[in-house]
Point group: C2
């Protein structure tokens, strides 16, 4: 965390203090994720207020000074002047804090988080390595839930804190649901696996689809072409919506435009879904240091679905951080 | 979900519609948890608005009618009159929705959720069974992270969707941190395991501590006495704060009052921490059908910690839902 950058953004936004409640923003500022109700307040410096229960752990791990979080009322006393708040602040707290105080919604921490530091890229890279190694160690047999249990076991054994999201293992007709919940059905074909690890609070997010037979292979190749074309155009200063457009255009050309029912990707970091979004309506421009997913898919209701997802670092050109091959069988 | 009860509460709160954003509240009303941005609106009936991506899944699983979630602006058109909102509503959405509309913070869904139906109790019971079976199948050897990986694998294999929270496996000196993160250290003594499963969206939450040696056993027995005394007083119409007081008094009598650094318990359901809290300041009274945890602990900094946690259904007397024995070795 670059405190000077945060303080400069506070100046630009004309706020005298920042009140940070969102766990991922706290983690970003403190370099440590407390387990219980906590707050970071930034004035001239950043201070983490956490409960007695977390104090011992925090004193060993927080990278910023500590205070005890006793009550919302006592937290108020640490604020000064005009207060920058997060857009995610719960309305009940907003009403409590705004009494006698000027509050302004800012996205200072989210904006800082969008460009990753070398340390953050290293952490995401480790989360990707863990996820990839864990898939390669997997045997594709049994039921969807058995495969998911084994994959999550592999990730945890390989150093992941937890799955970055509910692992998706969807096969046969169920692969046509982009976010299918896991069944106890025997594996069918195709087999979509969407999985991610968490390393030092940073996430990875990958998808591979195992296909058999001609029709599945045909769709696989279209999705792969869409993904590769999209990755090719990634570079600083292009619009995020353009990456979506390129992927979508390939899929539309093959006549499957209506079957690509989600956006092309999203930012990746402390949250598995964060800015920038890569969608039709996205207003972001890509910048050096962003880490994004590129994950087009085609879903044919009642038949099957295919999705391919990799994690990409925006540099002078796109650097695909994931290295596991696209075809696994 | 009892729609009539929700509608009656809306009448009492003088709101004409309810705007529900919180995932667990949506799950409660729809009987199904969508994977993407979704909203439930209750007017005379409850409708789930979800994205195109979840529509196929929702059409198979939602227990209430569906609409497509296209944009916040279109959602506004479905609201009528005075609108009940949740206290967790993000302030940015609050500001968007309040234009030309009267909004009132209510806790109608949270209040309904606090008393569990027989179906909900059945789901929590299944989540407890899965967690218990998974611990019994475990070998207590290797490192903390290996034990955690194996326990989570067992839970997933036994039908849990995911861990109800980050599993805690904390041994030796690290057991003095109530919410210790998992290390790759070899298991020491004592060994605190705090774990839970999720079945059909409902959580379990249990803790067992494996102790060796006289001092650890002494502390174990104090914590167990505190827990048993607290469970004994649980019945409808007593104050939740009284349960906390009873547990705390036992621990204080033995001179460890300052080492019990968290509250005695919390409600359990779609969220692993929900109302009622069992703390000093809790204003809840216990009612029939509540499901709560009872989890006193003693934490001696630099030495070790012990916690024992069970899940309890409030009936005419307390019914302990968990059955795994307190001493495991």
């Amino acid at each position: 965390m670059d405190l000077k950058k945060i303080l400069d953004s506070m100046d630009a936004a004309e706020v005298d203090s920042l009140l940070i409640l969102k766990p991922e923003n706290i983690t970003y500022l403190a370099g440590y994720r407390p387990s219980s109700a906590s707050v970071v307040i930034v004035t001239d410096e950043a201070t983490l207020y956490t409960t007695k229960m977390d104090m011992e752990d925090a004193s060993m791990n927080s990278k910023i000074p500590l205070g005890e979080f006793e009550s919302t009322d006592k937290i108020k006393d640490h604020l000064k002047g005009r207060v920058g708040i997060e857009k995610s602040m719960p309305v009940s707290l907003y009403k409590k804090f705004k009494e006698g105080r000027e509050l302004k919604i800012t996205e200072i921490v989210e904006s800082a988080r969008i460009i990753k530091s070398p340390d953050e890229i290293e952490n995401i890279g480790r989360a990707i390595d863990i996820a990839e190694k864990s898939l390669l160690d997997l045997e594709f047999q049994g039921t969807e839930s058995e495969v998911a249990a084994q994959l999550e076991y592999n990730m945890k054994s390989n150093g992941s804190t937890k799955p970055a999201f509910d692992t998706i293992v969807a096969s046969g007709e169920r692969s046509s649901l982009p976010h299918a919940t896991i069944s106890t059905d025997k594996l069918g074909s195709p087999l979509v696996i969407d999985w991610g690890a968490v390393y030092n609070n940073y996430c990875s997010d990958l998808t591979r689809t195992l296909v058999k037979g001609e029709k599945e292979m045909e769709i696989f190749n279209i999705v792969l072409e869409a993904q590769q074309e999209a990755i090719k155009v990634i570079k600083p200063s292009i619009k995020a919506s353009y990456v979506d457009k390129v992927a979508r255009r390939v899929i539309e050309e093959y006549g499957y435009g209506d079957n690509f029912i989600h956006s092309t990707g999203h930012g990746l970091g402390l949250e598995v879904h964060e800015n920038p979004t890569l969608s039709k309506k996205s207003e972001f421009k890509l910048e050096k240091g962003m880490v994004i997913t590129v994950e087009p898919g085609i879903y044919i209701k009642g038949q099957f679905g295919v999705r391919i997802e990799d994690d990409v670092l925006v540099g002078n050109r796109a650097q695909v951080l994931s290295s596991i091959k696209k075809s696994i069988n």
